[in-house]
Symmetry: C2
Subunit: 382 residues, 2 copies
């Protein structure tokens, strides 16, 4: 029986994490739940899973109190306390944005395995997070389908990785000419061809920023130099990623796209539990898998992210912050789709990085990049 | 340093095994060489690798003697002695046909790891071979690209296999209408689209008998029931095979088709040595991988083999023998391409199987099936 704390329980990954816990009550017990403003869903989850500990940013903003359902004996506790609580065996960090940093670092400091679905932890603070994990012996288990694929292919391998091959669906605008890209709407960008995800990550998939962030994460998770990480467009989203070994052998992990699978793999590792979600791969139905080289001309975010990753220090934090502001502005109709990479590039151009920043300096870089992004949106037409 | 005995050293797999040994002189030393009638090549190999022990069926037939190159201090020894010799760390069984049985069983009895490229050992005597390996603790390491792929994907996995997915190129006649198949010539059948192999296995690939035999081998190697082994046509021969686990996750192993890679994997396991042979996978060049369901109507050998595997006992031995006679007769122009499955089916129809045969009874079944096949060819037009 593994006891879970789930941060971001009302989001897409959080809800699917609770699906897994619900499906395997003999394997998992939910000890802690933490979420943002969706109090209604959080209370439903508290009523169902009866965690010992609960946290919500909304409750914090009002006043600490017990949840409304009076029969539930859940105690309100700060995120860091939940993450480091002795009853917790695995900390699932499925928050979006910077909110994931604090519980993730609390868990790593306490030596607890983290099932990590939050991108910002490794993109903004990959150096610090992996150093902390190494220091305490905590493991960081990826939940992203791409990194989970690599992790699965690495099982039992001792040899060095020659190359990581991250696959990308290419998003809804893969085939769209450059001139059309400027006109696409938020509604069109939110229609992802293969994956059902949150709004931010769906837009990031359409710009390929998401894949760029995953390259940075892969760099930290698997200690592979950027030069040895390749991105390949694979529209069917069946091969979730691949590893090439020194002998030229390549291993790939495949499934129909469904996030329950990598979530369950992280929670049940090293075991595998029976499938409840995705249909069996059917090669009569899946008659072809195709591959393309990504077009960084039409999708500059991919190259911007990798460049920020290579520069390191506070650059990835500035990238993340600029992208979050840009995606928000695009969803509000304030900038166009092609304005997203322009804004990110402009913010990175203004950024003066720090090489080995503290968490505090990373947060300051984030704040500065947001201010820069806001002022650029105010001043320029993107 | 691993010391190798290579049986079938002058054949396709044997020569590629020696390529690997030549490329990694710090890793491998050739202690024993055994081959059939190609004395000229065997003497070249003896001169290059200077093995302690050497065997050739051709020399046996004449009289035991030292090899002609007088400066070589190789001792002529029976196959069983070479396979079980205390100086040998890995026994590579790359002979074709029944000749592989004797050295393989000698190695397994001596508890030595066998890198197995010979199909007949597991097809004819899978029950006995795996029981012997279990008894002595010897490992059977597959060298076939398909089984090597499965073995590689199994590394580090503890969970049960839900399904094995063996890929098949489909051979040169994959798209040919049934009426055309009767007219194909041996020369056409020997032109394999993706793999360079020996003549027998190339014809077996064209009839899909090869894939059927591999299903039987996979059944014994990985203890998977026939119902859970699926064959998928994959014309590009890039994915060499796949495993589906209970959670629905599928792992695949890929490379450009080159037998050096699985040979090297077996010899270097658990390490991986730098690639010397196959180019790196290039997804700009490899833009698509496609899949089809095999057509057992046009290629009945696949179904015949799986049926013989399911019946077990001496049936697979009879299948092997009938196929060997049939392929020989086809190559000599005595029967047509579609006569191969007809002959195999007819021989299996006459076969009365023994459920748990001894090696002796398997050999008798083999001899009987050959006689039956010969008499059918004499009597009928196939």
């Amino acid at each position: 029986m593994k006891r879970l704390a789930v941060f971001g329980s009302t989001g897409s990954i959080g809800r699917q994490t609770l699906d897994v816990a619900r499906n395997f009550p003999d394997w998992f017990k939910v000890i802690g739940l933490a979420a943002g403003g969706n109090l209604e869903l959080l209370e439903q989850q508290v009523a169902e899973f009866r965690p010992e500990l609960v946290y919500s940013t909304a409750l914090e903003r009002k006043s600490p109190r017990r949840t409304r359902s009076s029969q539930i004996q859940s105690r309100f506790a700060p995120m860091e306390e939940i993450a480091a609580h002795p009853d917790v065996d695995i900390v699932v960090v499925a928050t979006s944005g910077k909110a994931g940093l604090s519980p993730c670092f609390a868990a790593l400091r306490a030596g607890k395995p983290v099932a990590l679905a939050n991108k910002e932890v490794l993109v903004m603070a990959g150096d610090l997070a992996t150093a902390e994990a190494k220091h305490t012996g905590a493991s960081i288990m990826p939940v992203d389908s791409e990194h989970s694929a690599i992790w699965q292919c690495l099982r039992g391998e001792q040899a060095e990785i020659e190359r990581l091959i991250l696959t990308a669906s290419g998003g809804p605008f893969r085939g769209l000419p450059a001139v059309e890209l400027a006109k696409v709407t938020a509604a069109e960008a939110l229609r992802h061809p293969t994956w059902i995800m949150g709004r931010k990550v769906t837009i990031d998939s359409a710009t390929l920023m998401n894949k760029g962030l995953e390259v940075i994460e892969a760099h930290w998770l698997f200690s592979v130099p950027y030069a040895n990480i390749q991105v390949v467009i694979h529209p069917e989203s069946m091969i979730h990623s691949m590893i090439e070994f020194v002998d030229g052998s390549v291993k790939a992990q495949l499934s129909y796209p469904d996030m329950h699978l990598p979530i369950q793999h992280a929670l049940s590792y090293p075991d595998r539990l029976p499938a409840q979600y995705v249909p069996r791969l059917d090669f009569a139905r899946t008659a072809r898998l195709s591959f393309e080289t990504p077009d960084t001309g039409r999708f500059p975010c991919l190259a911007l992210a990798i460049e920020a990753g290579k520069k390191g220090g506070t650059y990835p934090a500035a990238l993340c912050a600029a992208d979050e502001v840009a995606v928000g502005a695009f969803l509000e109709g304030r900038i166009g789709f092609t304005g997203i990479p322009l804004l990110v590039e402009a913010v990175l151009g203004r950024h003066s990085g720090i090489k080995h920043p503290s968490l505090q300096e990373i947060m300051e870089a984030d704040a500065r990049a947001r201010e820069d992004a806001a002022s650029i949106i105010g001043a320029e037409k993107l």
